[in-house]
């Protein structure tokens, strides 16, 4: 393997407490080492920022609903230049739902190397894996959804926690999934009958279990299985005025639960796109931010992490496993609506959405995201996402960084809003003068996310022995200060990107499709005859595929599968 020496850059690495010191980073055999021989390829990073490759904890880039988004929005391809093939690059297009190729190239330009697909319907797992296999460069993994699965509803209602854990282990193995995702617990099952669960106490029709019991059961199952990532929650009542009480109720379920794992993960609950869950008011008329209340709770409770889901004020495509929410949304904006309910397991919906800065609700949503990130006390536990593409495309991460790092840019945007006064009035954003540092941005985009995913021993940092995923940005912290436009440009245009010790971007040009990996978690549990029988019965009676045809075959559907083995037999 080649040796690489990245010389003289300003290094930011929260995992080692390095805050912009000039340092050399050496790479050998795909790993970061302390020194290399004189024959190493030298990358001159003088005057540039060096960070570990970005790690995205929550994004929708592969699978059934993403592809519905692509296929039902030909107009989305007109929002960005359709780039022709050149060199190692395939032709690539799309804006809010880019093709797999464009997803990879754009993430690479942003200096990202690891990206987790946030919602995988188990029955569609094969589709998700096919897309991830065809996505070059990026290391990926996917979270199968459990919050509306009939097995879980049944086991958790009857308090059969061992059976629940054994089933989760089986499903992760069958679908080659990475962790436990829970979307609108109970609500999507209720949507099977056109209903929803809006609080953690609403009973699920027929199954007579509450979202509270589902969330609590999944958190405990996650810890009993010693998984690398925590339970990953998209709570009930997303996007509605006044939903912050439901959010606080959901977060409180984690109180007192201790983490149990060997991966350095400290949280037991990751609440995703928390911005969408921190709304006050009773209607859209008195809609306001409750971001400070929710963030205050998260600041005080160390066993919770969150990602924000920043609204970027773009035209985008919303897609989620929260079927009833998308139906609600199409009634609000009257744009086309796609929905897929998945037998036994879950559902999903897709609606295009235009976040306009001239609509005051959108302006307030934008404020809430930034407000929460700026009020966060520990950015290792508060991550940067746009819930791509729900609150905005991931290609806007650099713009979000700009807003976080530069108060003037926030003010300038607020100033152009049609309903400026109303937007200022409904959140505390304009009273916050905090500007985040690159060190904090590095926490939000790699160190914190890698740790929360249980991957801190592989990526997210530049420590000796870690996987050599390194991004070099054309940004000089000494001379560029917090120049807003420079930030937005630089963090979207990595000059060099190294992944697994291989040069992916050389001198701003993608030169390799890399050697991507797909992470999945294989948990061994005690044999459980009851669960085996239940699974067989469900396939015989209620699924429309056979049990044998459900399993996603590693060899056929995954590129370089990387198994994280966990022994949970006790």
């Amino acid at each position: 393997m080649t040796e690489i020496l990245i010389k003289n850059g300003f290094v930011f690495d929260p995992t080692q407490g390095i805050k912009g010191d000039k340092k050399d980073i050496a790479v050998k055999d795909g790993k970061i080492v302390d020194k290399v021989s004189s024959s190493a390829k030298v990358i001159d990073a003088t005057g540039m920022t060096v960070m570990a490759g970005g790690v995205d904890i929550h994004t929708h880039v592969a699978g059934a609903k993403v592809n519905v988004g692509r296929n039902f929005r030909p107009e989305d391809k007109l929002q960005a230049v359709y780039e022709p093939a050149r060199g190692v690059r395939h032709m690539s297009g799309g804006y809010s739902v880019p093709t797999v190729f464009k997803t990879a190239y754009k993430y690479a330009d942003l200096g990202y190397t690891t990206v987790f697909e946030a919602a995988m319907p188990p029955l569609y797992a094969r589709h998700t894996h096919e897309e991830m296999r065809d996505t070059p460069i990026l290391d990926q993994g996917a979270f199968p959804m459990f919050g509306n699965n009939w097995f879980m509803l049944d086991y958790l209602k009857n308090q059969e926690y061992d059976n629940a854990a054994a089933y989760i282990a089986w499903l992760l193995r069958s679908t080659k999934g990475y962790g436990i995702k829970c979307v609108n617990p109970g609500g999507t099952e209720a949507w099977g009958w056109g209903l929803n669960c809006l609080t953690v106490n609403d009973p699920v029709p027929y199954f007579e279990i509450t979202p509270r019991e589902i969330i609590s059961g999944l958190i405990n199952a996650n810890e009993s299985l010693l998984l690398p990532h925590s339970m990953h929650l998209h709570g009930n009542n997303l996007g509605n005025p006044g939903n912050y009480t439901t959010t606080l109720d959901s977060l409180k379920i984690a109180e007192g639960v201790k983490t149990d794992n060997k991966f350095g993960r400290e949280q037991v609950l990751h609440h995703t796109h928390i911005q969408f869950h921190s709304y006050g008011g009773t209607t859209w008329a008195d809609f306001e931010s409750k971001g400070p209340e929710v963030m205050d709770y998260i600041n005080k409770n160390k066993n919770i992490t969150c990602d924000i889901g920043f609204v970027t004020l773009d035209e985008t495509t919303t897609m989620t496993g929260d079927g009833p929410f998308e139906h609600h949304l199409t009634a609000l904006n009257h744009l086309k609506w796609a929905n897929t309910d998945v037998e036994v397991e879950c559902g999903s919906g897709i609606v295009p959405y235009v976040y306009s800065k001239d609509v005051y609700v959108c302006g307030v949503q934008w404020s809430i995201g930034l407000e929460m990130a700026l009020l966060a006390k520990d950015h290792m536990r508060c991550h940067l996402t746009t819930d791509h593409p729900n609150a905005g495309p991931f290609t806007r991460y650099p713009r979000v960084m700009k807003w976080l790092m530069n108060q003037e840019s926030r003010e300038a945007l607020l100033h152009t809003m049609k309903n400026e006064d109303k937007v200022r009035d409904r959140s505390s954003l304009s009273s916050i003068d905090r500007e985040l540092t690159l060190y904090e941005i590095a926490m939000m985009t790699r160190a914190g996310t890698a740790k929360a995913l249980g991957l801190a021993d592989r990526c997210g940092g530049l420590g000796i022995g870690l996987q050599a995923d390194i991004a070099v940005y054309p940004f000089n912290p000494e001379t560029d200060g917090n120049d807003a436009e420079k930030i937005e440009w630089a963090f979207g245009n990595a000059v060099y990107l190294v992944k697994d010790g291989q040069i992916i971007i050389n001198d701003s040009e993608i030169v390799s499709n890399g050697n991507k990996k797909t992470y999945w978690v294989d948990v061994t549990t005690n044999p459980n005859k009851q669960v085996e029988r239940d699974i067989s019965e469900m396939f015989t009676k209620y699924y429309t595929v056979t049990e044998k045809n459900y399993d996603v075959e590693e060899h056929a559907f995954m590129k370089n599968p990387f198994v994280i083995k966990v022994d949970a037999t006790q």
Binding site: N67, N71, F72, L123, G192, K336, V342, K541, V545, A556
Partner: protein, 438 residues
């Protein structure tokens, strides 16, 4: 002695049954019996056993006779005509695996081809309607477990998707539908008294080509609005009754086929059918599912979607992907004489396209990759027989509700025979050599 292969996927229609059992000889070379399949599916398996099967590629001579050639020669010819053409049409992709489709797309990207699948003469109007109004849908298991109102509109599963009704829609006993067909009301909308209509509680005999009017009238009836005495040949009392039946269901599902996609109004009919479904969601729960034909036409739309962003009619000839059905669709291109080479895999346009289009294919340099001797093979310059996907080689396929299932290999193909993916890789290698990129 013989072996039994279970959980076999049927590579015929979009129903993609996955519970077939195939008995094969001990040496794994011969299929003896096919169980659980419908007559069409079983025939497809047994057809692969034909003693007179063509097993070598052939080029057509000037006198119209065929001459056997090697796979390497056939690949060279295919690569040559694709590279020399300015606008080669690469059509089909619906009776093959997603892996082969992906390889084909890489060839198309290199040569600037137009990739189109059978949706162009099938559910293309449905795909266009989805661009307009979206699609509230569900998997077939949701139908089995929940649906108590089933509508078949312009489709005849009794003949076209024979096991659909027993596996998913009319008869199965699901989780919340324990009484099977007794727990469901069946509505069939069809001008003809079909075999499916004979199973219906309500057969609505719409006047041919008047589906849009009827769908629209049903939407009016949902709101108890006024209707003329007769709409589309159906008395208004019947329309009000049907709309009451739909609204009173717990879970409604509409299946639709060629009767609506290719009659007068085309995609606008589907717009309206989807609008009926969306409207119903204000009263109860409703979904709509197209009855896709070829077993993996859905997969072709999926692979094209994640690689290029469009489900069919993808024109790569300008170096980037363009999509404009009507302009970049196969028949429009052929009828305007815009195509200068034709590459067909996994479909039979010779049978499905208008005669004028087939005449055009006959004039062009052309390759047909198909296990069978088809009308398309007959008009092509080169015929490349390949192994049957789903019988002699496995691969990923997508059911009509977009659920991916991996088809299985049951027997070996005849000795020396390539799979379509293997042949496409040979072509791709030749193309790369010609383009100087290898």
């Amino acid at each position: 002695m013989s072996k039994l292969v279970t959980d076999v996927i049927c590579p015929f229609c979009g129903t993609l049954c996955d519970d077939l059992e195939v008995e094969v000889s001990d040496d794994g070379k011969q299929i003896l019996e096919v169980r659980n399949a419908c007559a069409i599916g079983a025939t497809k398996f047994l057809h692969s056993q034909a003693s007179d099967r063509i097993i070598r590629p052939r080029m057509k001579q000037d006198d119209g006779t065929w001459k056997d050639v090697s796979y390497a020669e056939a690949a060279k010819y295919a690569a040559k005509i694709l590279c020399e053409a300015k606008k080669p049409l690469m059509y089909g992709w619906s009776s093959t695996s997603c892996e082969a489709q992906a390889t084909g797309h890489m060839i198309a990207e290199q040569v600037g081809g137009i990739v189109d699948n059978t949706a162009t003469v099938c559910h293309g109007p449905s795909l266009i309607a989805v661009h307009d109004v979206g699609i509230p849908s569900c998997t077939l298991g949701e139908v089995k477990n929940r649906a108590d109102r089933i509508v078949f509109w312009g489709c005849n599963p009794a003949h076209a998707h024979p096991r659909h009704m027993s596996r998913y829609s009319i008869f199965p006993r699901g989780y919340f539908t324990g009484k099977g067909s007794k727990s469901r009301k069946i509505i069939v909308v069809d001008p003809r008294p079909t075999d499916t209509a004979s199973l219906a509680d309500y057969h609505v005999q719409v006047e041919q080509g008047r589906d849009y009017e009827l769908l629209n009238a049903i939407r009016v009836a949902f709101k108890n609005g006024p209707l003329p005495d007769v709409v589309a040949g159906v008395p208004k009392e019947k329309i009000y009754e049907v709309s009451r039946v739909l609204k009173s269901g717990r879970f409604v599902v509409i299946f639709f086929g060629m009767g609506v996609t290719h009659s007068l109004g085309k995609n606008h009919n589907i717009d309206e059918a989807i609008a009926v479904t969306s409207d119903l969601n204000a009263y109860t729960k409703a979904s709509i599912i197209p009855m896709r034909g070829h077993y993996n036409v859905t997969g072709s739309g999926q692979v094209l979607g994640w690689q290029f962003g469009f489900p069919f009619c993808v024109d790569l000839s300008r170096g980037f992907a363009r999509y404009n059905p009507g302009e970049t669709s196969s028949n429009d291109l052929l009828l305007r004489n815009e195509v200068d080479a034709c590459f067909v895999l996994g479909s039979d346009p010779g049978s499905h396209f208008p005669n004028k289009s087939v005449q055009e294919i006959y004039k062009l340099p052309s390759v047909c990759i198909d296990p069978h001797m088809t009308p398309t093979a007959a008009v092509s310059k080169c015929h490349v027989p390949v192994a049957f996907v789903g019988v002699e080689v496995g691969g990923s396929c997508y059911r009509m509700d977009n659920v991916p299932i991996e088809s299985r290999k049951v027997v070996d193909p005849p000795a020396g025979m390539l799979t379509d993916d293997e042949f496409l890789k040979l072509v791709l290698a030749e193309v790369m050599t010609i383009k100087g990129a290898a």
